[in-house]
């Protein structure tokens, strides 16, 4: 049994330590807001925060997450996260929406470290998150908008 602290709630999961955190979150804990896109840290759809840092949960063994604070999209509720979500709705960012949990997790982490990011900061922080629907320009605007709101 591995103990996971997800969104300030403790879960016991029956998983081998090398199972990716993504599948423990989705299939064992049942939080499906975190998405599977590539499995090799290329798309960012599975982005969660581990001790406040964005990680690709598809390439992060569940064993290494034990005892750490994990935040998924369902647990994004502090000031910065709320501003990001608000800006995302205001600018109608999502299209299919599948990549957006990951986008929001990356954007929230960016705004925590850089409250007023430049376009170059956004490029650097958001490059790991693919969007096949092509919502990039709205993501950029929404990050700037969220920065204004915070």
């Amino acid at each position: 049994m591995i103990q996971l602290n997800i969104n300030n709630k403790v879960y016991e999961v029956d998983a081998s330590a090398d199972m990716p955190l993504l599948w423990a979150i989705r299939d064992l804990v049942g939080l499906t807001g975190t998405k599977f896109g590539c499995g090799i840290a290329q798309c960012g759809a599975c982005t969660v925060h581990v001790n406040g840092t964005p990680v690709r949960s598809c390439s992060f063994p569940v064993g290494a997450a034990a005892g750490k604070m994990i935040t998924t999209i369902e647990g994004v509720n502090e000031k910065i996260g709320e501003a990001v979500k608000k800006a995302w709705i205001e600018l109608q960012v999502p299209q299919c929406g599948y990549c957006q949990s990951g986008q929001i997790m990356s954007a929230t982490a960016l705004l925590k470290s850089k409250p007023h990011p430049t376009d170059a900061d956004i490029d650097a922080a958001m490059q790991g998150n693919l969007c096949r629907c092509g919502t990039y320009q709205r993501i950029r605007s929404a990050i700037h908008r969220a920065a204004e709101m915070i």
């Binding site: 998983a15 081998s16 199972m19 990716p20 599948w23 989705r26 299939d27 064992l28 049942g30 939080l31 499906t32 807001g33 975190t34 998405k35 599977f36 896109g37 590539c38 499995g39 090799i40 290329q42 798309c43 759809a45 998924t72 999209i73 369902e74 994004v76 979500k85 995302w88 709705i89 109608q92 960012v93 999502p94 299209q95 299919c96 929406g97 599948y98 990549c99 957006q100 949990s101 929001i104 956004i122 490029d123 650097a124 958001m126 490059q127 998150n129 693919l130 969007c131 096949r132 629907c133 092509g134 919502t135 990039y136 320009q137 709205r138 993501i139 950029r140």
Partner: protein, 722 residues
């Protein structure tokens, strides 16, 4: 399971409507025959099977049904909006339910071909207007006042002289007893409150907080997971497999074969079924499978591309369209041009991989939860294929994590259905990204041999577009005397007034699974077509805009699009040194759009400085969503133009994941400025696709203007223009 967007079943329905009566339920029928009737379904035992679109509960709850799968294009807002506008309710006060292919919702229950609004704009407004008229009548009867003294607003009927009010819920029961008006009066567009305005999409909050349920998120009790090994060499046969090691992996419960059915392309794979998806993937890695490649292991892109070029030279092709006498005009022309254009095979690569949860239960019942663009045909086709009565089929159309044409094809549903039948448990089969990239189906390439001729004064007099390509249906035995409409899409629809024209199609078989891709063949043909028009412009010593407009003396949407582009891009304003601008437009089945793109030289490469887009719509339902679709189409077009796409070697796909089959990332995508032409009238054009085809030619025409380098083969390296 709790799904915000699942179909309601009868049990939920009873709960929803309470015991006091069903309220007012209106639907549509006769869609298959194209004669649409509005029907009162209020007394029906199962209004869903009968195609309910509007349901007004006596407690005031209003439910609107969306018959078009939500794939990111915004039908979760735009389709209910058609009804809400006429019904006088705001969208944030209604519940939206997704239909699941129920027979009575008709054969247009799919998302494809940029058809959603085009097929529903009038029908669904009529249903909304009919419901409103019935509610008005019910109120006026109750008050004993003329109906002309009453009006509807915010789900309430109001008596103008006295200010008396009755909510829709209070009137639903009485309204349900009235006759449905035959021809309800539609609102004058100038009174629209929702349509034509940038309304917020009701699915967006769910997609921002992680609660939206996509196909991959569906769960049912007792469900198991499957991962399927398919031969990487196309068209191979399964010989045998050894599952001993796979079955030793903890959590693996079964290993079974299943057939992937993609139109005529059928192959057998080996599925590892396990308690968790991760265990299924581990088990799959431990499989030992023997395939018979049947000689297909020699197929490779290099030889195949050469064979396309050879075919182009050898075969004259079948005529798709002709006018005047092209051969004679070309032979005698003062100035002649010829060029050969090449495009790549590409993948759809939605970020949500293919997946399907299927549950086959006793009594020959089948329930499917999936991301699909075609719930309607899932019901009819699977009922037929697996001999299940249609009434025993239940499809849950969940949010699609991208469609782009890939989810028009239910090969991934077939696999899950076979597996649940075999093991008697609900099975969720999920493709890996590698499966998705390597197995296709793919958008095929088209190669184009272009010919054009000019008069001595630089007027276009003859034009030929010869397309060399396979057909999307993958038929090997093709009657070469016939042209194929899909593979020559749009090339004969362009409005340029050129006297002598002969477009032809040459069939060339390709042994891999193929499929329609967003904007289909126009995505490659627009590139060759509009770049070659640019070549003719330069040969005529005219700029691309003037040359095109010179060939458009008659009024047309094409002319309007180009004039709008000219205006919004300040086409005639000089650019800084080292910059260049290009224009392209394309008209095809889905609609019409165009771009002006400005680029600058940056070292060896080029930088995209400005992107101006114009989409011609006539009638627009949600302008913000239209912009989003064009922004997205431009991004997809840029990926197809500059990223490496799909190639084959040794009978297999070379690329496997986003690492080797990359998509454009945020740092590579310029801003797109979208302009919508809404000249009103009865014209309704498609939104999802027209933003794609003209992007690559506008970009390449701009690169020529900046560098003098003519790009005739996609993809190209934007960081190294040589």
């Amino acid at each position: 399971m709790t799904n915000n967007n699942s179909n309601i079943n009868r049990r939920n329905f009873i709960r929803l409507t309470g015991l006091t009566g069903t309220g007012l339920i209106l639907g549509l029928s006769g869609k298959a025959s194209n004669a649409t009737n509005i029907e009162n379904l209020s007394a029906a035992a199962d209004p869903f099977e009968l195609g309910a679109f509007i349901m007004i509960n006596p407690n005031g709850e209003i439910t609107l049904f969306n018959s078009k799968p939500e794939i990111g294009q915004g039908t979760f807002q735009s389709i209910p909006a058609l009804m809400a506008e006429e019904l006088e309710v705001s969208l944030d006060k209604v519940t939206i339910k997704q239909t699941g292919g129920e027979k009575k919702y008709g054969f247009m229950q799919f998302a494809g071909g940029s058809m959603s609004i085009r097929s529903e704009y009038h029908n669904l407004r009529k249903v909304g207007a009919a419901a409103k008229e019935m509610l008005l009548k019910a109120a006026s009867t109750q008050w004993n006042v003329p109906v002309s003294e009453c009006y509807a607003s915010e789900a309430t009927i109001i008596h103008r002289p006295t200010g008396k009010k009755l909510g829709y819920g209070e009137l639903a029961e009485a309204a349900s007893k009235l006759e449905v008006p035959k021809s309800p009066v539609l609102k004058d567009p100038k009174d629209f409150k929702i349509l034509g305005k940038p309304g917020a999409r009701p699915d967006i909050p769910l997609k921002v907080n992680g609660t939206a349920v996509f196909g991959i998120d569906a769960t049912v009790p007792g469900m198991v997971y499957a991962s399927i090994e398919r031969c990487p060499v196309f068209n191979s046969k399964l010989v045998s497999f050894d599952a001993t090691a796979a079955k030793k992996i903890k959590g693996v419960i079964a290993v079974e074969t299943c057939e992937r059915i993609h139109e005529v392309y059928k192959t057998t794979g080996v599925a590892v079924i396990a308690e968790t998806y991760w265990a299924a993937v581990q088990g799959r890695k431990a499989l030992i499978v023997t395939w018979d490649h049947q000689g297909n292991e020699t197929f490779n892109s290099k030889d195949f591309e050469q064979s396309l070029r050879d075919t182009a030279k050898k075969e004259t092709g079948a005529v798709a369209h002709q006018q005047g006498d092209f051969d004679k005009a070309f032979a005698n022309a003062a100035v002649k041009l010829e060029a050969f254009y090449e495009t790549p095979v590409v993948s759809h690569s939605p970020i949500e991989p293919m997946n399907c949860l299927a549950s086959f239960t006793e009594g020959n019942k089948l329930e499917i939860w999936t991301s699909t663009q075609v719930p309607g045909s899932l019901v009819t086709d699977f009922a037929k294929e697996y001999q299940i009565p249609v009434e025993n089929m239940k499809v849950h159309t969940l949010f699609n994590g991208g469609g782009f044409g890939r989810r028009l094809y239910p090969d991934y549903v077939h696999e899950a259905v076979q597996l649940t039948k075999k093991i008697g448990k609900p099975v969720k089969a999920i493709w890996t990204r590698e499966d998705d990239t390597q197995q296709g189906p793919f958008r095929p390439m088209t190669y184009s041999a272009m010919k054009g001729a000019l008069s001595p004064d630089g007027k276009a007099i003859a034009f030929q577009h010869k397309v060399i390509a396979p057909t999307l249906d993958m038929k090997k035995d093709y009657d070469k005397s016939k042209s194929d409409e899909t593979m020559t899409e749009g090339i004969s629809e362009q409005k340029y007034e050129i006297e002598h024209m002969k477009n032809v199609y040459v069939h060339h078989y390709m042994p891999v699974p193929l499929a329609a891709w967003r904007a289909v063949t126009s995505t490659t043909l627009a590139f060759s077509h509009e770049c070659f028009i640019d070549e003719m412009a330069y040969a005529a010593k005219k700029d691309g805009m003037a040359f095109r407009l010179g060939m458009l003396t008659k009024e047309s949407d094409t002319k309007n699009v180009l004039q709008k582009l000219k205006e919004v891009s300040s086409w005639d304003k000089p650019l800084p040194t080292g910059w260049g601008r290009g224009v392209a437009q394309y008209e095809f089945f889905a609609g019409q759009g165009g771009y002006v793109i400005e680029v600058s030289k940056k070292g060896l490469g080029i930088k995209i400085e400005k992107v101006y887009a114009v989409i011609d719509l006539g009638t627009v339902v949600n302008p913000d969503m239209v912009s989003a679709q064009v922004e997205g189409a431009a991004t997809m077009a840029l990926t197809a133009a500059i990223k490496n796409g799909i190639t084959f070697d040794k009978g297999k796909t070379v690329q496997s994941n986003y690492s080797t089959n990359p998509l454009v990332r945020i740092n590579e995508m310029p801003k797109v400025e979208v302009h919508i032409l809404t000249n009103g009238g009865d014209k309704i054009k498609g939104v999802g696709e027209p933003g794609l085809p003209p992007f690559a030619p506008a970009l390449c025409n701009a690169i020529f203007a900046a560098t003098g380098k003519r790009i005739r083969r996609l993809p190209f390296d934007i960081n190294k223009i040589v």
